[in-house]
């Protein structure tokens, strides 16, 4: 199976105190970045689908990781190559010149040439939390989609059984390939992904895998190509317009209550939760 995964770097939430917000923009210089966690889960899912867990060094399929970002975002791609992806593509762009729709349109074009059987994405990016690229992409491609995947069982190169996380339960869908799937947190639980190559009772360690140090060195030699955004789409106009930025309001100090009855009273009259 050929899988294309989109991967974005996001500002490390541990640096939240370093972020400067002006009414015109959010200043990102000097911040540290890490991969968007949901995108990391998508990469992990792609790797699990294309390997026999008994020998993770051998890839039984092809995994391509794609990012939209500046040159510095290549380290995020290299890190994904180190965990086992085969090749990487960076579409040269900066965050302020992108929105979910433009990314989806450019990805659709890229997919025409890459011809994957499956496109995996994180359900959302944790900076903007827009949650729309997967849905828009499926529409532009005219492919079936399954969003918020918490489990995936591969039925070979023809279909996937996807467990979607919905309020109050799971919705099981069979999607025929090629398809677009966005993943949720539970996809990296030990038994969430079943490939046709791995024994059904195999349990992975919880979470995403760590790159071996040797693979980090070897990732230098894997293919990483750069593509211009304008080569993918003539229309680089944005549909989302930001009108202003402001930091979230500081949290107000709490109050101390003297007794349980006072607490119950406040929960009833002020918080109105009882």
């Amino acid at each position: 199976m050929k899988i294309l995964v989109s991967l974005k770097r996001v500002a490390d939430p541990d640096n939240a105190n370093k972020i400067k917000v002006t009414p015109q923009k959010i200043e990102t210089t000097g911040l540290e970045f890490k991969p968007n966690p949901f995108d990391e889960y998508a990469v992990e899912t792609a790797l699990r689908l294309t390997e026999n867990a008994a020998n993770t060094k051998q890839r039984l399929g092809e995994v391509t990781v794609v990012t939209f970002g500046p040159k510095e975002a290549e380290s995020t791609l290299r890190a994904a190559l180190a965990t086992g992806a085969d090749k990487a593509i960076r579409v040269d762009a900066t965050d302020d010149a992108l929105d979910g729709d433009l990314v989806a349109r450019a990805l659709a074009k890229l997919i025409e040439t890459e011809k994957p059987d499956l496109v995996l994405l994180g359900k959302q990016e944790v900076e903007g939390d827009a949650n729309q690229v997967a849905q828009l992409l499926a529409e532009y491609l005219g492919w079936p989609q399954a969003t918020f995947a918490g489990s995936i069982k591969s039925e070979g190169d023809t279909a996937l059984l996807v467990g979607r996380e919905i309020d109050g339960g799971t919705m099981n869908l069979r999607v025929t390939l090629p398809a677009v799937v966005s993943v949720d947190l539970r996809i990296v639980a030990p038994r969430s992904v079943q490939s046709v190559h791995t024994k059904a009772d195999h349990a992975y360690p919880e979470g995403v895998r760590f790159a071996a140090l040797m693979a980090i060195m070897a990732a230098k030699k894997k293919s990483l190509t750069e593509v211009k955004l304008t080569d993918l789409t003539g229309d680089v106009g944005l549909k989302i317009k930001y009108t202003g930025f402001e930091p979230p309001p500081a949290r107000k100090a709490g109050v101390k209550v003297k007794s349980v009855s006072e607490l119950v009273e406040k929960l009833k009259t002020e918080a109105k939760v009882l």
């Binding site: 380290s75 890190a79 180190a82 760590f210 071996a212 980090i216």
Partner: protein
């Protein structure tokens, strides 16, 4: 802990990824259980497979299934491991620098092929037996001897304070060949050899999440091929120590970082007097200013040493300086951080007391603070003050 001098800009993309990867591993696998291991006095053997799978064992060696990291990359890996616990870093240091490195540097081709790939994979664990009950700072005073007996050597003696001793399948034992006046040689002794016994050392208050043992050897017979063929004299063990001490000098920065981060977080949230966090007081800020300065200095020294090592210009005296300085910086920082946490500082709920206890060992092993003082003193004056 802020990267105050932005040393990240000197790191290659691979080195940054190495650091991030080991950090993520430590966060996910080491930190959740290390406090319990420390309390129970057990080494987390369940992590050996993953540590090896990551390629952390012998990661600066080339070939034989080793990762072939740069010296900076190796240092960063040790730093992130020790941010978890000095015991985990010690496990990796002993395996990589004290056993794999001498086999790699001084071993026969057969020894390299037999041991290195399996040691990198964590399938064979090694320990390094130099110190003895009566020979610590002066290892040249060792009493263990190896007698040539035709087609084998017969080794007799006692080693003490041996990290990984009860975990190991092979012990690199340093012994005097032929008798008390003979030259020191290294021997690769399988720990299941007849006459070989490893006894756990109990009642430790430091490096509790690490196995420390006494090795008792009574006429242990090993084949002639067990000797490390390409080194003779104290240069053998000392060059291993230089390699391990380099990793220690990086490692302790990780321990210091962990203490600093924990104390800073605590100080910003702990409110005493007039509703203000203790971090708002000048005395507390002075502590952080001093620690930031000292730890940043330690990091810069380690980085410079790594570059010298890559240029093949690193002298043992450089390593003495960074081992001595950086361990002291980390130990001082751990003590100050412990103080900032008040009563909470003495518990295992926070990492500080654990690091503080561990660093007492790190200050002693691989040449005590004062032994390195004497090495530097000799370097400056040309006069040995050891005797």
């Amino acid at each position: 802990m802020p990267d105050f001098f932005e040393i990240a800009r000197h790191l290659t993309a691979e080195e940054q990824t190495v650091q991030r990867t080991v950090r993520a591993f430590v966060d996910a696998r080491v930190l959740p259980t290390i406090g319990d291991h420390f309390e129970r006095g057990t080494f987390p053997t369940e992590l050996i497979g993953e540590i090896a799978g990551l390629g952390l064992l012998g990661c600066n060696l080339h070939g034989y299934g080793c990762a072939g990291l740069s010296e900076v990359g190796y240092g960063l890996a040790m730093q992130e491991l020790e941010r978890g616990d000095s015991g985990i870093r010690s496990f990796a240091s002993v395996q990589g620098s004290l056993v794999m490195y001498p086999i790699w540097a001084f071993g026969s081709d057969a020894q390299k092929a037999r041991y290195l790939p399996k040691m990198a994979a964590g399938e064979i664990i090694g320990c390094f037996g130099l110190t003895e009950p009566d020979a610590g700072s002066n290892p040249g005073g060792m009493r263990t001897v190896a007698i040539d007996d035709g087609d084998s050597y017969v080794i007799t003696g006692t080693k003490r304070w041996i990290t990984n001793g009860n975990l190991a399948q092979v012990a690199l034992v340093w012994a005097k060949l032929g008798g008390q006046d003979g030259p020191v040689h290294g021997f690769l002794v399988p720990t299941d050899s007849k006459g070989f016994e490893a006894r756990l050392i109990h009642k430790k208050m430091s490096l509790r999440a690490s196995v420390t043992s006494e090795l008792i050897m009574e006429e242990v017979r090993v084949p002639k091929e067990a000797i490390l063929p390409n080194v003779k004299g104290m240069k053998g063990p000392l060059s291993c120590l230089t390699s391990a001490r380099f990793g220690i000098a990086w490692g302790v920065i990780g321990a210091a970082n962990a203490c600093f981060d924990s104390a800073l977080d605590y100080a910003k949230n702990r409110v005493q007097f007039a509703g203000k966090p203790i971090a708002s007081h000048q005395l507390v800020q002075a502590k952080f200013a001093e620690m930031l300065t000292q730890i940043s200095g330690a990091q810069l020294m380690a980085l410079e040493a790594a570059r010298l090592k890559e240029e093949k210009k690193l002298r043992p005296q450089h390593v003495s300086m960074i081992k001595r300085n950086n361990v002291r910086v980390a130990l001082d920082a751990a003590r100050v951080c412990r103080d900032i946490l008040g009563g909470n500082g003495i518990t295992l709920e926070y990492p500080i007391m654990r690091h503080l206890c561990n660093l007492e060992t790190v200050s002693t092993y691989e040449g005590t603070h004062d032994v390195h003082t004497l090495i530097l003193g000799q370097d400056v004056t040309g006069i040995s003050a050891f005797e």
